[in-house]
Point group: C2
Chain length 196, copies 2
Amino acid sequence: MLDFWIEFASTYSYLAAMRAEAVAERAGVRLRWRPFLLGPIFVAQGWTTSPFNLYPAKGRYMWRDMERLCARRGLALRRPDPFPQNSLLAARLAWAVPEARRAVFCRAVFHAEFAEGRDISNAEVLAGVLAGTALPPADLLAQARTDEVKAKLRQETEAARAAGVFGAPAFTASDGELFWGDDRFEQALDWARDRG
Amino acid sequence: MLDFWIEFASTYSYLAAMRAEAVAERAGVRLRWRPFLLGPIFVAQGWTTSPFNLYPAKGRYMWRDMERLCARRGLALRRPDPFPQNSLLAARLAWAVPEARRAVFCRAVFHAEFAEGRDISNAEVLAGVLAGTALPPADLLAQARTDEVKAKLRQETEAARAAGVFGAPAFTASDGELFWGDDRFEQALDWARDRG
């Protein structure tokens, strides 16, 4: 088993999410999708927004890198405005969605955001994503606003930080080994298969 | 042709430098080794030391990532103290060394620093590196302190910044396309071969 830490505002989490099912199946490793918030972790580092906005040369490069990688993988890419998106409601929703449907919902959020450029902070957009994946929008949006779901997302974000996660996507094996970035997805799967 | 931007203080530049000859030859692409200083570029971003020191979680991860990658590639890894090393004299020396020997010298610096953990800010250590690669230490150390060589390194650092380089290693093709990180070495070589 491999924990798969994703942040809905993160471009490279989009890349990893869209190939996660295929690469995990090929490796014979079960993935546990764990959406969390990078914001609180960034704030603790003294950042008030995405490092891609704080450091313009790095930001310009990231978008070009994403263009190249998406082209190679046959993925659409459309920048959401603003970037980064506020991912709070989407992340709460992901924890309201039943576990068996979480991966499907997460991929649909990333698709709306980065393939269609839609605003995932908007409850109506997210209602559309839920409906599009045969999940009940009104019920789940209500659940996402309960104290229970809010607390769950806070716990997950704290668990990410405690595991050493400082960016997304990230991967942790059951022995605690940490991997960062879509570029390390294969290594993380190998580790989980061989030592997990 | 592909420009290969390296910073002697950079761990991932070590990784890229040690495989550069083999991967470039396989791709049929000529590499131009361009040592530069990241320090002035970091300072312009508001950083006073390596981001791996500024952000401890990221720093801890980087060393673990290096351990795993070096183990896979059969490379020794020993942390120099302090990290990052002051790379000014090494970078000046690289521009004093004749072009035909620059790659050999650069690899020998990285080996001393990251395989042996030696202090590459030390002129005696660098004299040993020069002697070990059949280059004349006294001559080249004197040349490294001339205004001409100092100006050349400043120009290279400015050229890196102007090319959009914000980290090391980086690669630029003749059409200006920028790639960042040892993880993108193959993509950069493909680009240079197909469109360079």
